[in-house]
């Protein structure tokens, strides 16, 4: 577990605001809520009483104590009272030169399932979909998948090599790559193991853990086709091997047609440089295909006449069927949708009018329609899709719903522009059994109980 960031290194940053310095001396925790540890969330009365004396009880109380305490004190901020923050001078510009989320959003973080993997270096973390609004995943909340941990790559030393069945092999620096004509595209990336724990039965009572291996960003970089034209392809070239600079030297084979179609070699994510977690300084984005092929920390592209059958496309990322055969090269992400409100993390509070909200996506292109059922799939209503509806990107949907306070079974079902209809888990199991791990795009059922609580269930 990571210790509180600056408490151990008091000299690391010069305090921009004297108030910060005072907080620091008094032992109040890191102002960046993402760097909390468990002791930080527990009330620390002895320490904080000192801080309170120096600062104005309401403000310090909210900072120093748990959220409940802050809520209890918030009455002093409601009408007719003027809030403490309305009667004091706020922090100035560059107080936080790289902005942080509000203190009160401290729980909105990527999370992992410790029992799922041997360690955290070859593992997964999940985006908190229950807290996200819109189709873009904030860079700090984009899900993580590593096979040999997160390398911290120096962009000045990083190179991209393109070779194999090409006319003119090429070695590019990051400066070279940025000079090529650039494009920006919004695409999701989903790990094909998203929902993989639910093949057999409902197991995890959480939107985040059942669906959070998907995120969506605006990517900026150069089309892979531009780079392939620049090296010139020999006519025997049919396959492309892409490889990362991480310790796993992660590599996958891709058919040339896809590489010439819409693949991107990107250096930016949502307007800033890629995050190290997403492949800084350079990654591949293969729109609509399983996330593993979107190689991070991309360092090598090799053209060949056959696929490589690397470990990650034979031993892993293949789908074992009930008859003992396996499917390989199952790259496409089929259409999928999920209701993000309500969900186990965001229950209902009493009968009344609600907006059911959710996300839909498909590797085939655009989402055409999303239907919602509140009775476990007996009857369906078509939801409203929200603009923008982009190809191979997350798409928002919503449906107003007057909840009568009775138990309900909520489901969403997407239909994409190819006419493909999202299946139920029963339909998937009929074809694929329960051991195929990947590509579970089944309809999610949320059980709403009379008290408004929500549970992950499966229907027979």
């Amino acid at each position: 577990m990571r210790p509180t960031f600056w408490r151990g290194k008091p000299g690391l940053f010069k305090p921009a605001n004297p108030r910060d310095a005072k907080l620091r001396e008094s032992g109040v925790r890191d102002p960046n809520p993402r760097n909390l540890n468990s002791s930080d969330l527990a009330p620390q009365d002895g320490v904080n009483r000192r801080a309170m004396l120096g600062l104005g009880a309401a403000v310090t109380g909210a900072l120093a104590l748990g959220r409940n305490t802050a809520l209890a004190q918030s009455e002093g901020a409601s009408p007719p009272a003027d809030a403490p923050w309305s009667q004091s001078l706020g922090a100035g510009v560059v107080d936080r030169p790289y902005g942080n989320p509000a203190e009160f959003e401290a729980g909105v973080i990527r999370r992992n399932v410790p029992w799922l993997t041997a360690g955290t270096e070859s593992s997964i973390s999940f985006s908190p979909l229950q807290h996200l609004n819109g189709i873009i995943t904030p860079n700090g909340l984009f899900f993580e998948r590593y096979h040999a941990g997160r390398p911290d790559v120096d962009p000045k030393q990083h190179k991209l090599m393109i070779h194999g069945l090409v006319e003119r092999p090429l070695l590019l620096t990051m400066e070279d790559i940025v000079r090529f004509p650039s494009v920006s595209r919004i695409h999701f990336i989903e790990c094909p193991a998203n929902g993989g724990m639910e093949w057999r039965a409902a197991q995890l009572n959480s939107l985040q853990f059942n669906h959070g291996m998907i995120s969506c960003a605006e990517w900026t970089g150069v089309k892979l086709s531009t780079l392939l034209e620049e090296v010139g392809l020999k006519k025997e070239a049919k396959w492309v091997m892409v490889e990362g600079a991480d310790g796993a030297h992660m590599n996958r084979s891709l058919p040339l047609e896809k590489c010439l179609d819409d693949c991107l070699v990107v250096y930016a994510q949502n307007g800033e440089a890629l995050r190290p977690e997403q492949g800084y300084p350079l990654r591949l984005v293969v729109p609509g295909w399983e996330g593993n092929v979107s190689i991070k920390w991309l360092r090598r592209i090799k053209l060949g006449d056959k696929p490589w059958h690397s470990r990650e496309e034979t031993s892993k990322y293949t789908d074992l069927m009930p008859d003992g055969t396996s499917r390989g090269f199952t790259w496409l992400i089929d259409a999928k949708s999920v209701i993000t409100f309500p969900c186990p993390e965001k229950p209902l509070h009493g009968p009344g009018l609600y907006e059911i909200r959710g996300l839909a996506w498909t590797g085939h292109g655009k989402v055409k329609r999303v239907d919602v059922s509140v009775d476990g799939g007996v009857n369906w209503q078509t939801a409203q899709l929200h603009e923008p509806v982009l190809s191979k990107a997350l798409t928002r949907f919503s449906l107003p719903w007057r909840w009568d306070g009775k138990p309900a079974l909520l489901e969403s079902r997407v239909i994409d522009e190819t006419g493909y209809v999202q299946p139920t888990i029963v339909q998937l199991r009929e074809k694929r059994g329960t051991n195929s791990v990947y590509h579970n795009n089944a309809i999610q059922t949320w059980q709403v109980k009379a008290d408004g609580s929500v549970f992950d269930v499966q229907l027979s």
Binding site: S38, G247, H309, T314, N379, Q422, V457
Partner: protein, 275 residues
């Protein structure tokens, strides 16, 4: 709050700066100087902030035209059209050209290794996670056994039971193992480990020597059970809208409620260790 004095000092500073001749309020001045620099860099030095917007438009039009032209030629580009980067030397390529193809072993380097050597290297480099006989410690992957289990309720996917191609094993050990120090073993050691793991799975005999010729000839037990063409879509759900199923037949077959498997989704990260 010592900030009152701070604030006073700050206000004085602002006051002094705004009072200085020639410095109009900051943001305005900044944007003007930026604009001037941009235009000077792009066109003639004479073109300053005082130029009329008409000529700006003209320049922009030329710029767009030029840009369009360059893109136009790029789409039908000859190799080397942009001319960025360098052609890597043979030495540079060979350092990174580490892949060995699974099906035919193309890319396997010179060198060799036998089962007995592999057993020693495995004990030093691999056994801590994978177990002395490839049985796997904790949740680390099991490397041996499991043959004949692929149709079982709980199949065991190992090198012996699942992997289709032997050269892939060499390639993977070489590129990604040992996990704390990947790609540091010699080609001979990787060949030896490959021989040992194949031997643990009873796929090669004790006297087997792995090299670039022998590995592609090893026939893996599960080789023919892969379909390399995606058969999806394999479901044909219909978008029925009303009375799609009998309401009485809608029953919950499983629930995550009460299963103690879900980490907390509030507060700090949940390590799920008993407190």
């Amino acid at each position: 709050m010592s900030s009152f004095r701070e604030m006073f000092r700050l206000r004085r500073a602002i006051h002094i700066r705004t009072a200085m001749p020639g410095l109009v309020p900051g943001i305005h001045a900044f944007s003007k100087s930026r604009a001037r620099q941009t235009w000077m860099a792009g066109t003639s030095p004479a073109m300053t902030k005082n130029e009329r917007s008409g000529s700006r438009l003209k320049v922009a039009a030329i710029a767009i035209a030029l840009f369009g032209l360059s893109i136009g030629t790029a789409s039908a580009a000859e190799p080397g059209h942009f001319g960025y980067g360098t052609v890597p030397t043979a030495e540079q390529i060979s350092g990174w050209d580490i892949d060995a193809r699974g099906e035919d072993g193309v890319g396997l380097p010179p060198g060799k290794g036998d089962v007995a050597t592999g057993e020693k290297v495995f004990a030093e480099q691999c056994a801590a996670c994978h177990g002395t006989f490839g049985e796997g410690e904790g949740r680390f992957p099991k490397l041996a056994g499991g043959q004949g289990t692929l149709k079982d309720d709980r199949p065991e996917l190992t090198v012996g039971s699942y992997w289709p191609f032997a050269p892939t094993l060499w390639d993977y050990i070489n590129r990604a193992m040992p996990m704390p120090t990947p790609h540091t073993l010699s080609a001979d050691d990787v060949y030896a480990l490959t021989a040992y793991i194949l031997n643990l799975n009873n796929i090669v005999p004790n006297e087997f020597v792995a090299d670039r010729d022998s590995l592609p000839k090893v026939r893996m037990p599960n080789r023919d059970n892969f379909i390399w063409t995606d058969p999806r879509p394999d479901t044909a759900a219909k978008p029925c809208m009303s009375a799609c199923v009998d309401p009485a037949a809608v029953t919950i077959s499983s629930t995550a409620e009460g299963k103690d498997l879900t980490p907390r989704t509030t507060g700090p990260l949940d390590d799920m260790q008993p407190k």
